[in-house]
């Protein structure tokens, strides 16, 4: 690996760490790591999480649209590009199973990590469960999963 590539890799790792910290902090700030928060949303006792998600999309979607029209090269990930795909059967199937698990466990992958850092030890039950679920899918498709971030692209090697 060249010196420049190594530098870029280190920067990307630092950006990853920083965005992870900020993401975790926002989730913890809004108490999304608590079962009660998720449960109260899904049972329509409280609308905060719906509004949280809607306002995040209301802020990001127009900005992403503008940036897409503008077109530019990102410092760490090449040409700025959004991805869109057509719904397929696996989206519906996976989404349906995910929703059932979300309601039962009252958490999803990112908040589960915050759950543990908040001192809620049941997070230590949830995280291995998530890893097991991913593993079961790997066994089923008989190959290592490579993606998992929605509309996703694997970052080309820098």
């Amino acid at each position: 690996m060249s010196r420049l590539a190594r530098q870029k890799n280190n920067t990307l790792n630092a950006v990853g760490l920083l965005f992870g910290i900020l993401f975790g902090a926002v989730l913890a700030g809004a108490r999304l790591h608590e079962y009660d928060t998720i449960h109260n949303m899904l049972s329509f006792e409280e609308y905060d999480v719906f509004l949280f998600m809607a306002s995040a999309i209301a802020v990001s979607a127009p900005l992403l649209w503008l940036l897409e029209r503008k077109g530019f090269t990102t410092p760490l990930g090449g040409q700025f590009s959004l991805s869109r795909s057509k719904p397929e059967a696996h989206h519906i199937k996976g989404g349906a199973i995910f929703g059932i698990g979300w309601a039962i466990a009252g958490t999803c992958p990112a908040p589960a990590l915050v759950m543990v850092s908040s001192g809620a030890m049941l997070g230590l039950v949830a995280i291995p469960g998530i890893f097991l679920g991913l593993h079961l899918r790997e066994r089923q498709v008989m190959s290592a999963l490579t993606a998992g971030d929605g509309e996703h692209r694997i970052l080309e090697k820098v």
Binding site: G20, F23, H91, L113
Partner: protein, 160 residues
């Protein structure tokens, strides 16, 4: 330690902040702010596989640290160290809550792998990119989650 954050940051601050984070990661690295991908890469890292996207592993650790900062440093009042499952534990004994949480988490891990993303990857970043597939995933998991919640509520009522 510092206790500067309110018990709960209101949605109209936290939501737009998350929106800006989503845009920020796209602008810097052209990548979605997803979470299950970080689990996938962390699995690869722990199993010493080739081709691991290393920054996602840093990001995985970062989410934990961010939660730690808020719940243990910036907001120490209001009983932050909770079991986190007060509502569930009010209805079920702990011996049942543990397998429920584990089974639920396994389902959501499996479902996220099949759908190719979770609440953040499809729900937030995918819909923000105006992807029809992500909108379909989001609508589906919202629907089944709401149905499951009400079904569980009926079970609790029947047992009680």
């Amino acid at each position: 330690m510092f206790d500067v954050l309110p018990d709960r940051v209101p949605w109209f601050l936290a939501g737009p902040a998350l929106g800006l984070l989503i845009v920020g990661l796209f602008v810097l690295a052209n990548q979605p702010l997803g979470a299950s991908g970080a689990y996938v890469q962390t699995t690869g890292f722990l199993r010493k596989r080739d081709g691991v996207v290393m920054w996602r592993v840093f990001y995985f650790v970062g989410m934990f640290i961010g939660g730690l900062l808020v719940t243990q440093v910036l907001r120490t009042s209001g009983g932050d160290i909770r079991s986190g499952y007060d509502a569930l534990r009010a209805d079920f004994p702990l011996a049942l809550v543990i397998p429920m949480v584990f089974a639920g988490a396994t389902l959501l891990g499996y479902g996220a792998a099949v759908a190719g993303g979770c609440t953040s990857g499809h729900g937030m970043c995918g819909t923000a990119q105006r992807s029809p597939a992500s909108v379909a995933v989001t609508a589906t998991f919202m629907t089944t989650a709401i149905i499951t919640t009400f079904a569980l509520g009926l079970v609790v009522k029947a047992v009680a």
